[in-house]
């Protein structure tokens, strides 16, 4: 009964943490734009949270920079289980134009496990919503 309830609530109100790991800001504003009236993800119960301790889903934008690597791992560890990671943007998937730069490790998946990849440079807010919905469907199944 209780597990059913938690499962249901997890599907109905995933709280997200938005983390910039070295992005160019474009993906970030598109993620924030997804929260504002035109796209309004709050109608799906998705809420942007400020601290990793409240979050279910981490939305990562940007390539993992060397400076950010340890912080990224720490933030991942601070998030309570079960946790999911969405890599938003070409940077978070593979490094995008920054691939090969001395301070860039590569995609987020070089550092922490990733569940959903959303392509685009920058992603459209619609794509972010699509990514979250795909994740939720995955949880359902």
């Amino acid at each position: 009964m209780l597990t059913k309830l938690t499962h249901w609530s997890r599907l109905k109100s995933p709280w997200i943490l938005h983390l910039n790991t070295g992005a160019c800001n474009a993906c970030d504003i598109e993620v924030v734009a997804a929260l504002t009236p035109r796209f309004d993800v709050e109608r799906f119960g998705i809420l942007l949270k400020a601290t990793p301790r409240h979050a279910d889903v981490i939305i990562c934008t940007g390539p993992a920079t060397r400076q950010m690597k340890d912080r990224l791992i720490r933030i991942y560890e601070q998030t309570p289980d079960p946790k999911f990671v969405i890599a938003v943007g070409a940077c978070a998937m593979s490094g995008c134009v920054y691939r090969g730069a001395y301070n860039v490790i590569g995609g987020i998946d070089q550092v922490i496990p990733v569940d959903v990849y959303v392509p685009g440079c920058p992603v459209r807010p619609d794509a972010v919503i699509d990514g979250v919905v795909k994740l939720l469907n995955k949880l359902k199944g």
């Binding site: 790991t21 160019c24 800001n25 504002t36 390539p63 400076q67 001395y102 301070n103 860039v104 440079c121």
Partner: protein, 400 residues
């Protein structure tokens, strides 16, 4: 009793990774220290491995909010190196996109300021209207954020009649909405009370600490690269430089709202006087050995690119000085003697774009906010002196 409070790199009040160390006495900040590098990607080095054309797309990805600023600044420099003269129509379209970007950036900032002041419906309003600008940009360039419209020698896409009409129609809506923001931003008692007097930066300090953009103009200094050193077509376009003299966050808000109206006028002028002709000229693949400094008034202030060519199809050096970097020293001054609760607001008021600023080594004395400029030789001897007693590289610890 003094405490040190670290904020960041991941913190509710900050949207991007940066770390602030604040020394506080009770609620009052006595000293602040900004630490950078979380977002450093090594763009300048990367630029040396890419061709002139590829670098347009790289510089675009320096920052997502002022992406057009960086490409325009870069492209202008390269055009000077290659001795190209872009056609008038191309320059008009380039300026048009630049002004649209300024509108979207200022609306975005207004929303963030509202959010930091606890006025979330303002945030939602401005971001809703920002979508109108994003739509226009998407119609003109095909993309919402990274427009990719600049190319060396002009722009890549032309405008047609229908698009011009559509933009003019949308401008009317934006004007109306901005009237409302102007009313709200200057009359809403609780909003004004929250912003007034916060983050004071006197005129003298603003000049001494090399503040740029709206931060500088809100301290009563009428400085704008578009007026002082006109690039593109700004010498033909009538507009005013907006200033305020309250020297606080309220002033910075007012300056930005005023600038919105100037932007609408500029866009209207550009569209009504759009000359006919081609939008771009063919660019050569190589540039002669030379060096150039290009200036551009980005939404956040003066953007400077230094480009050096060596006769090949790649730059030998690209140096970017983004406006946010120019504002850091002033931010420390603003934070001092303020309250902890004001930090997000003050910090947001310079409209920080951390990914823009993550690339320089400048010697900023955090305690006095003084910037030291020293010659390469004295820098070398200084570094030798400082590192004389250090451990060898392999044994040294990473300082951060």
């Amino acid at each position: 009793m003094k405490f040190q409070i670290p904020i960041g790199p991941q913190h509710p009040a900050l949207k991007e990774p940066i770390s602030l160390r604040m020394t506080v006495e009770g609620e009052v900040i006595r000293d602040a220290d900004i630490r950078l590098g979380y977002n450093h990607r090594g763009l300048e080095k990367l630029a040396e491995q890419k061709t002139w054309i590829q670098n347009i797309y790289l510089t675009e990805r320096i920052c997502g909010i002022c992406s057009h600023s960086h490409t325009t600044c870069y492209v202008q420099g390269v055009e000077k190196l290659m001795e190209l003269e872009p056609p008038k129509r191309g320059l008009y379209i380039r300026t048009l996109v630049a002004e649209l970007e300024r509108i979207h950036s200022h609306l975005l900032w207004l929303g963030v300021a509202g959010h930091e002041a606890g006025f979330d419906s303002f945030f939602m309003y401005t971001w809703r209207d920002r979508e109108i600008v994003m739509d226009i940009l998407e119609i003109i360039t095909g993309n919402r954020v990274h427009y990719g419209i600049n190319t060396i020698g002009g722009v890549r896409r032309d405008l047609d009649e229908q698009q011009v009409k559509r933009i003019l129609d949308s401008l009317d809506i934006l004007r109306q909405r901005s009237e409302y923001y102007k009313h709200l931003g200057t009359n809403e008692p609780s909003f004004v009370a929250r912003l007034a007097g916060v983050g004071y930066l006197s005129r003298e300090d603003a000049i001494a600490l090399c503040a740029v953009g709206p931060t500088l103009r809100a301290s009563g200094v009428a400085m704008d690269v578009r007026k002082d050193d006109p690039y593109a077509v700004y010498d033909e376009v009538p507009f005013e430089v907006c200033t305020a003299d309250t020297c606080d966050v309220l002033g910075r808000t007012v300056v930005r709202i005023k600038e919105l109206f100037q932007c609408y006028n500029i866009i209207e002028f550009l569209l009504k006087n759009l000359p006919a002709g081609p939008v771009a000229v063919r660019a050569p693949r190589r540039a002669k050995p030379n060096e150039v400094v290009s200036r551009y008034e980005a939404p956040r202030g003066e953007n400077i690119h230094y480009i050096k060519s060596n006769g090949t199809d790649k730059p030998e050096r690209l140096k970017v000085r983004a406006p946010t970097l120019g504002n850091y020293a002033a931010t420390i001054q603003m934070l001092k003697n303020g309250f902890i609760a004001d930090v997000p607001l003050i910090f947001a008021a310079i409209d920080p774009c951390i990914c823009c600023a993550e690339r320089a080594v400048s010697l900023v004395d955090a305690r006095t906010g003084q910037e030291k400029i020293i010659s390469l030789n004295s820098l070398k001897s200084l570094s030798l002196k400082l590192s004389a007693g250090n451990k060898r590289k392999r044994e040294a610890e990473w300082p951060l």
